[in-house]
């Protein structure tokens, strides 16, 4: 069974993770733009970063027969600096036109501030202007519910957003009902401590169906592991779900969402 990892920050991982994922039948991965663990000192650093994830990282992945795609944006944490963010946004179209850049993401909120929301809205507008998919980071821990509600309310109130072209990531039990009912795609992240466990992901699928559901491991520079995606697949099989349903969750669904603009041409 082929697997798609829809969210992993390979810039922060070693080549051994590519090898492990390849051995676990991962055929394609997506790398959203994110905070590096420190604030960049200039917009040019973002240009270098976007070049890295859209040009160099695919060459590392290809050595393990993995197709590498990415998303481009100014991340929620660094979006607090509005003028800095606008400089970054000004050169994003150059990258969004590349064949392996899937859209704008992971945009969203961190501490739910006005500045973060302003830059979120400006990037949503850019996505609409350039007909791009949107991948949304929902805040961590105590800020998740409020931030998710703020973004969902904005997108629904906007009137021009197709929820089928938007995926909210890092969804848990308290944010799933709202987003599922509004028709957005939802991704559930498996983390060792601070997000979902494999059991909780499959619980959510059983309660809210396979429809518009994606799973990812969001491997990055913190405690995380790409193999938790495969742990979740195994958990789903242990519970007796049929292979076609397992394949839909870990391959068919992400492929459908990611290929809406015709760029995601994986096996």
């Amino acid at each position: 069974m082929n697997i798609i990892e829809p969210h992993v920050h390979m810039i922060a991982r070693t080549v051994q993770d590519y090898e492990r994922m390849a051995r676990m039948h991962t055929v394609a991965i997506c790398e959203p733009a994110f905070w590096a663990g420190y604030d960049r000192t200039s917009p040019a650093a973002f240009h270098d970063y976007f070049t890295h994830i859209s040009e160099f990282e695919p060459t590392r992945a290809a050595q393990y027969l993995i197709d590498h795609y990415c998303w481009i944006c100014i991340n929620p944490k660094e979006a607090e600096d509005v003028e800095f963010s606008r400089e970054v946004i000004s050169f994003m179209p150059e990258f969004l036109s590349k064949p392996n850049v899937l859209g704008i993401g992971e945009i969203g909120l961190n501490k739910n501030t006005r500045n973060e929301m302003m830059i979120f809205e400006e990037q949503v507008e850019l996505a609409l202007q350039m007909d791009q998919l949107i991948w949304i980071h929902t805040p961590h821990l105590q800020d998740k519910w409020k931030g998710t509600k703020m973004m969902a309310d904005y997108l629904v109130g906007h009137g021009g957003i197709d929820p089928n072209q938007v995926c909210f990531d890092h969804v848990e039990e308290h944010t799933m009902p709202l987003l599922h009912d509004l028709g957005f795609w939802t991704a559930m992240t498996v983390y060792p401590v601070t997000k979902n466990s494999p059991d909780r992901v499959i619980d959510l699928v059983e309660r809210y169906s396979l429809e518009r559901k994606i799973v990812d491991a969001s491997g990055d520079w913190g405690p995380s592991d790409p193999a938790t995606l495969h742990d979740t697949l195994f958990q789903m099989r242990l519970r007796g779900h049929a292979d076609p349903d397992v394949e839909q969750l870990f391959y068919g669904n992400p492929k459908h969402f990611l290929n809406q603009k015709g760029k995601f041409k994986t096996r």
């Binding site: 601070t194 059991d199 909780r200 619980d203």
Partner: protein, 68 residues
């Protein structure tokens, strides 16, 4: 760091109770003594008395001297 691990353990336990409650044969399972023990353990956890871990372990132990 303690907070995040305690938060995680509580949410996992809550999700496990939800999972059991949604099971097909919930009526039979819900009344099992092991689950009732876990509910009592939750009461110990939420209380102010110390030695919570030891008291929960005693709650979940076969009393000494009881035949196997």
């Amino acid at each position: 760091m303690y907070f995040l691990h305690m938060r995680s353990a509580l949410i996992e336990t809550a999700a496990s109770f939800d999972r059991i409650q949604l099971a097909d044969d919930v009526e039979a399972v819900w009344k099992e003594s092991q689950l009732e023990d876990l509910r009592q353990a939750a009461t110990i956890l939420a209380g102010d008395e110390p030695d919570r871990a030891a008291r929960i372990l005693h709650l979940l132990s076969v009393p000494a001297g009881e035949d196997a």
